[in-house]
């Protein structure tokens, strides 16, 4: 399966990773009651998929990220770091509202602890 899709929920984001159309995004709010239960299927898919792209850009457009989701995102970034070793270039576009210093700072902390390239896009 070269595609993973999960519908947005009131407390959890839409996840769309589609190698056929070269579209990769996580969009919405992320504060589910059980982050592990929400993100584990996606993480399992990421760990099993063979990326068929030399370059990919992930659009991260999140409004709120709870601390329990932070660990899930860290695991997701770790899983994608393994693709770097297969020669895939990965860019994370981290979108944030101009006034949202907490979301910006969180993105910076992810950048600091990751080998992925981050672009910070202010709206």
């Amino acid at each position: 399966m070269m595609k993973f899709f999960k519908e947005e929920e009131k407390d959890a984001p839409q996840i769309n990773f589609d190698f056929e159309n070269n579209q990769f995004s996580i969009i919405g709010k992320s504060f589910p009651e059980d982050s592990r239960a929400y993100y584990e299927p996606f993480l399992a898919w990421l760990e099993g998929v063979q990326p068929k792209a030399k370059e990919l850009t992930i659009e991260m457009k999140l409004e709120y990220i709870s601390s329990s989701s932070v660990i899930a995102f860290k695991k997701i970034f770790n899983a994608m770091e393994k693709w770097l070793d297969k020669g895939v270039q990965i860019t994370v576009n981290w979108h944030y509202e101009a006034d949202d210093e907490d979301l910006f700072n969180l993105g910076q902390r992810f950048e600091q602890s990751s080998r992925l390239k981050f672009n910070f896009i202010q709206h």
């Binding site: 932070v70 660990i71 902390r109």
Partner: protein
């Protein structure tokens, strides 16, 4: 092991604190109540409260920066209750959550209080002490350390919740623990945005 749930006397203690807070904000001309909740917290409560805060503050013309900070802090405080607060014999949380505005100081004050087991005070005290003793840079470092080492099976954040509240509020936060009987304590938070 006998599991003695907080008895009615302790429940009344929480209720009295909540009433005092509500009365103060209602009677003071320099204060305004934004939201007051006492009782059980479910994930549906967390969602409803956060959507309510966002829409209310938008209607009042509050800045996006402040709204985001208040919602961020509220999510962490409410989910902390959801995951860790003790429940009464009926299975409901003994907790309150309150947001008010100090009009003179132009600041939002977020209050919460819930029962925790005295057996769990060691970890909680260590986390509170660390935040009180640390500057923002050190709290950031600790955040990265936990984020790096946390196991995915720790669905509750592995200790990032209190650090997140401190970072969002720029350390304008007070955590207090008050023993109420041999089994339980009241854990209270006052965060300022």
């Amino acid at each position: 092991m006998t599991d003695i749930k907080p008895n009615i006397k302790e429940e009344e203690l929480l209720f009295e604190e909540y009433q005092k807070l509500k009365t103060f904000f209602a009677e003071s001309e320099h204060h305004k109540t934004i939201l007051a909740h006492i009782g059980n917290i479910t994930q549906d409560t967390v969602v409803t409260i956060t959507y309510f805060i966002e829409s209310q503050l938008e209607l009042q013309g509050e800045t996006r920066k402040r709204i985001k900070k208040i919602v961020n802090a509220s999510i962490e405080i409410l989910q902390n209750i959801l995951y860790h607060a003790e429940r009464n014999e009926g299975g409901f949380h003994l907790a309150y959550f309150f947001i008010g505005k100090d009009l003179k100081k132009d600041e939002y004050q977020i209050y919460s209080s819930n029962f925790v087991r005295n057996d769990d005070l060691g970890t909680l005290n260590n986390r509170i002490d660390f935040i009180e003793e640390s500057d923002i840079e050190k709290i950031n470092e600790k955040f990265l350390e936990i984020e790096e080492n946390a196991e995915f099976n720790d669905k509750q954040g592995g200790g990032l919740g209190l650090l997140t509240i401190a970072l969002v509020c720029n350390k304008n936060v007070e955590f207090t623990l008050k023993k109420v009987n041999k089994n339980y304590s009241l854990f209270s938070v006052k965060a300022i945005v």
